[in-house]
Assembly symmetry: C2
Homo-oligomer: 186 residues x 2
DNA sequence: TTAAAATAGTGACGTAGATCAACTTCGCCT
DNA sequence: AGGCGAAGTTGATCTACGTCACTATTTTAA
């Protein structure tokens, strides 16, 4: 009754044996609240699937302002994708907001997995297309919607997030100051 | 000496025979300036690779304001990805700004191609990861940079675009009015 | 070839959200 | 349990960009 198997089966059907084989390519980690998974300037050799917990990836711009790139809760993947795919150093920080349980996949194991198990290459292709569309929707929301509307959409996408995460983090995801967000809530 | 073969070889090496086989899955179209490749509300059954020309995909929001999603010039892929991958209707319009020559790949042919030629599944996986990262960089630029800076970055990414495209289209890509863009140029 | 439409530039004014500052409340740590 | 830093609220201004209105120029199509 693995949540990870269910997750993979969103895109590809798997036998128990296939799933067991796939799991060999992953390792497992547990992190406590406020520990870092990735820090700015590190080489990024892994992508991560969140079994349990809550993490954020963030970017600090040249004015020292922090922007939230992504929330990752149960069943989400997270890494600094630019650094991971291009084998360069992180520009993002990824930190735990809650104690977390994480499956880890190294770059070389991911390539091996894709070569050894064609279904997994299909999975990653579909997943990447899906992520692209979601990212594009976020950009579109950014371009077309008022802050209040973007806030409502965020809470609709992650119900209960407002209770798990400081408001200033929500504001930094929406691209406004905490003062502005505070004036919008009632 | 095919530009398309070179394009595929950015991610995967190909023999002439393999390339010839791959080409079988595509069809070819020519469009004149101002003709539509995809119109809002149509079913989207193809993704397109631009051999020559210039197209834009755009989205018209509930206030009637037009937003430019993407410019597609030589060697770019373009479609309404949300509609294409999820087999639904277009929310974007895609129109030619210049006479264009286009390779077309249907959804079912793409799936067949991925199943028949594993290298092409690898190509599309890598390409999708790459597109995701580029999209994420655009969102980040949106969140962190002033309009003037975003304008300069756009022209750096597509040199000569300012000469090929009406200014109001550039403004709609940057998410500002044509008046504001006009005041930034010197 | 010329009229109409689309594109572009500029000024005056309006507004959403930023910035700064003061105050309150919450959560963590020994 | 109580002290301290982080988080959140609220008010007063500031500012980047939007809106509207008018004019000039370029493109399109009959």
């Amino acid at each position: 009754m693995s949540a990870f198997k269910n997750h993979l089966e969103l895109f590809i059907p798997l036998s128990e044996q296939e799933f067991d084989q796939i799991l060999q390519y992953f390792s497992y980690r547990e992190l406590k609240k406020s520990e870092y998974l990735i820090q700015n300037d590190q080489l990024v050799d892994h992508t991560y699937w969140i079994k349990k917990g809550l993490l954020i990836s963030s970017f600090t711009d040249s004015n020292g302002k922090e922007h939230i790139i992504q929330f990752a809760i149960e069943n989400c993947w997270i890494t600094d994708q630019d650094a991971y795919y291009n084998r360069t150093r992180a520009t993002f920080n990824i930190v735990c907001l809650e104690d977390s349980e994480i499956l880890c996949l190294s770059y070389s194991n991911r390539e091996k997995l894709c070569a050894d198990v064609p279904k997994m290459e299909t999975f990653f292709r579909r997943k990447a297309n899906d992520s692209f569309v979601k990212q594009q929707r976020r950009l579109l929301t950014y371009m077309t919607s008022e802050v209040k509307e973007r806030y409502d959409l965020l809470l609709k996408e992650y119900p209960g997030l407002a209770q798990r995460v400081p408001k200033k983090i929500l504001a930094a995801y929406l691209g406004v100051t905490r003062e502005t967000l505070s004036r919008f809530r009632y």
